[in-house]
């Protein structure tokens, strides 16, 4: 085995076609795209790839394929045919869904019983469940409902040797065995191919309202934000939107109408003298707008909630000095998405400066999407964890031949 002796992809095409069907295995430039119909076909494809030392990139609709380090061409294993919502036990508030189902397709079906998976990922109409889980994506709703780690209750995964393994189950409360699904969530397809996922569900937010405050600089929001976070108001989203000129803070809360009236009054007090106005739910697309900026470097930064306002002010200062353009959405849980457009030297300088500032207090900056000219100059992950040797050992145990997205993840895992 070994990549040096790997056969040409076209030679494997007939075997892949025999597994998934001729119309579902195609050569596309340097990669071969194969679309399995079920979990056993995934296992057969992985076994074949492993025997032949081929890199495998699991994929849904490809919305986040540019995230992480680039992967050598090989087999693109598309999950789009495995797209069924297999089970919706609405009285138990759980569901089981295949990885290739798009987010919106799943949510539409769950909504018939007034339920949802309480997460707001990017590009919900195109993005698939598997890709969202593999990249641990999620937006403003994380504040109230937690992230995927808190919403996934079970998973079926195929390992690089074709082993089909289940983890967790279909009940919300369950401590039997290791939570393999937590390891797979956010692992960028480096440990196994996620085939289906069980979620816990929440009721759809019946009545919600969004309020917005505007200020010239994020520093104006520091006091009101602190008061809001220290209050008993359970918002289901708080974000700061910032670019070079403007800055706004949005709050969404779901509750009974009486309670919303009461809280609107409290919020107005917190923000005084900054006026707080009711606004449209469309402000919550701001995060996706960041990721849609072509040509920009897209960064995911993580910091402590109390650092948000000072960090944003500082970032704005730095980008002005460097003649860079910036757009930011910051969730008040400390997850910040940044689109940065600058000359390459300035971009490198700004990213490294932000990274060293945040890492000093336990935060991080991941350069999720980067223009070609920056790719060789910036470490995508900036992972300084002292647990990296253990992470590499886990990868070695799960995927000893390194066929699953080799090198894409933190520490070149």
């Amino acid at each position: 085995m070994g990549r040096a002796t790997a056969p040409a992809l076209e030679d494997l095409l007939p075997q892949l076609a025999a597994i998934a069907g001729v119309e579902h295995a195609q050569l596309r430039g340097e990669t071969v795209s194969v679309l399995p119909a079920d979990i056993h076909q995934i296992a057969a494809i992985l076994r074949l790839a492993r025997e032949n030392g081929l890199a495998v990139t699991p994929s849904g609709n490809g919305t986040k394929m540019s995230w992480g380090n680039p992967v050598a061409p090989g087999v693109c294993l598309g999950l789009e045919r495995m797209n069924a919502l297999r089970e919706h036990s609405w009285q138990d508030m759980t569901c089981s869904v295949e990885a290739g189902c798009t987010w919106t397709a799943m949510q539409t079906q769950l909504a018939r019983h007034g339920q949802m998976v309480a997460l707001d990922p990017l590009w919900p109409e195109r993005a698939t469940i598997g890709g969202i889980v593999a990249t641990n994506d999620g937006g403003a709703l994380r504040l109230r409902y937690g992230g995927l780690r808190d919403l996934i209750i079970g998973m079926t995964v195929v390992l690089s040797d074709g082993t089909i393994a289940k983890t967790g189950g279909k009940v919300v409360k369950n401590v039997a065995g290791y939570d393999l699904h937590k390891l797979l969530t956010g692992s960028f397809g480096t440990l196994g191919v996620i085939a289906d996922i069980n979620f816990r569900l929440h009721p759809v937010e019946a009545q919600s309202r969004t309020w917005t405050a505007e200020a010239p600089d994020p520093s104006h929001f520091e006091q009101p934000l602190r008061a809001l976070l220290d209050s008993r108001i359970t918002a289901s989203g708080v974000q700061i939107r910032m670019d070079a000129e403007r800055c706004a803070l949005d709050i969404r809360e779901a509750a009974t109408p009486e309670c919303l009236d009461d809280h609107a009054a409290q919020l107005t007090q917190f923000f005084d003298p900054i006026p707080l106005c009711e606004s449209s739910a469309s402000v919550w697309s701001a995060r996706q707008d960041i990721f849609d900026r072509t040509g920009a470097a897209i960064l995911k930064a993580s910091l402590l909630p109390s650092q948000i306002c000072p960090t944003l002010s500082q970032l704005r200062q730095w980008t002005r000095t460097e003649n860079a353009e910036i757009a930011v959405t910051a969730q008040c849980n400390g997850l910040v998405d940044i689109a940065l457009q600058a000359a390459p030297d300035a971009a490198v300088f700004l990213i490294e400066r932000l990274r060293s500032t945040l890492c000093a207090s336990g935060g991080s900056v991941v350069a999720l999407q980067m223009p070609a000219e920056l790719r060789s100059r910036i470490d995508v992950w900036g992972c300084g964890s002292n647990a990296l040797p253990l992470m590499r050992e886990i990868k070695r145990r799960f995927d000893p031949d390194r066929i699953l997205n080799p090198g894409r993840f933190a520490g070149n895992i």
Binding site: S89, Q91, D92, G114, G146, G147, R149, D150, L159, T163, A165, K166, G169, K170, V171, K173, N174, V175, A176, G177, D179, L180, K182, L183, G186, S187, P203, V204, A206, L229, D230, R232, T234, A255, T256, E258, C259, D262, H263, K300, S302, L304, P305, S306, L335, S361, G362, S364, V366, C383, S385, N386, A387, L390, M391, I394, R396, R397, F398, A410
Partner: protein
Amino acid sequence: MLTVAQIAELRAAVGADALITGESQLQTYECDGLTNFRVLPGAVTLPRTAAEVQAIVRVCARHKIPFVSRGAGTGLSGGALPAAGGVVISLARMNRILEVNYADRYVVVEPGVINSHVTQRVAPGGYFYAPDPSSQSVCTIGGNIAENSGGAHCLKYGFTVTHTLALDVVLPNGDLVTFGSPSLDAPGYDLAGVFVGSEGTLGVTTKITLRIVKRPEVVQTLLAAFDSPQAAGQTVSDIIAAGMLPSAMEIMDTLAIEAAEAAVHAHYPMCGGLLLVELDGPAIDVETLMRETRALCDKNGATEVRVAQSERERMLVWKGRKAAFAAMGRISPNYIVQDGVIPRTALPQVLAEIERMAAAVNLRVANVFHAGDGNLHPLVLYDRTIEGQEEIALDLSYRILHLCVDMGGSITGEHGVGKEKQQALGYMFSEPDLATMQLIRCAFDPDGIANPDKVFPRTRLCADRSGPYKPHPLETAGVAEIF
């Protein structure tokens, strides 16, 4: 057994005042809350720092000596049962709260800190630590991390893992590493997510960063009496179907009510099925939702519905519920506690089947459960002095767990697999599932020295030996109820 030289190495690692080797003192550590499994360790160490934990683990790694970490020893599945002749690492002396950060809503604690002390510490700021296992007045955060502990209120607030931001861990090779961060989504695998609930088989945690939560504006607890647990269960389903998420929903059957009344005098209405519903949040919302809850209770034929009128009354309601296990001693000489989980909707069917199974072998089963998340605690009552009855009771308790798995549930919702349910794990998961979990185990602990022979089914084909319940010393002393 440990050699003289190995004991000398341990002494060098922690000092003579933190090493126990005398047999009578070792006996204190021979079991946890599952008291009829007893194994004498070779030595008990009482480290004060992460560096000392590292030094102990390095001695163990060098000589391949099994080690078991331990908090207050309140676990109910034998997770802290020592390995014969091995080393126990008691974290009791690492009991400091290192940091309280209200601005970013977290605390940093050592593993020996008692669960309820976290809430006590942050209460002045208006915060609390949400996971509330019934043993919270004595159990430690380190043990909660090992078991991914829940409690009555995890229905709304989630489990220990939901509230764990970061962990310092001494790996089985002695390396000290950090998983996660107080800020979210640290790059790399979510090792904190895997470590929580790994029952001490992946290493020893020495420092934990936990989320704290703002106290809700109001908390109200409703009691509703029904003719049967099934009617109470239907009400739970209706509350969920109405889109409500109470902070807790608990059901007790007649036997459990009788026992709790005898022990605590909680003034429960005597009935076939008692439902407790706790709602919290903004006063306006709680008032509206409480009205809806009452209406649903009435719809399902509740014979009595009342809301605790004072904080004292509310605490008494919970005291009765939390004392239910220990109170079984008042109505039965011996009993076995189980911890199965089922999909909530299977509740009526499972209760009927448990009743049928118990009647078939002439035993009584009391039921106490976290109904909101389908976590049953069937208590199999029996009398050991009647020959053969203990075996029948044990067999029944395992068949109930198998029933839970058959209904699409789990063998454990919060007590862990430990020593007690190793074989049952093999009923719930297939061989490839278990082999995949072993990949994680082997990456962390290739020599298998961290809490060996726990969680996973033993290779030898023997049935599980569960424990009839015997009072824990803490319980006998009246310090705590253990569940």
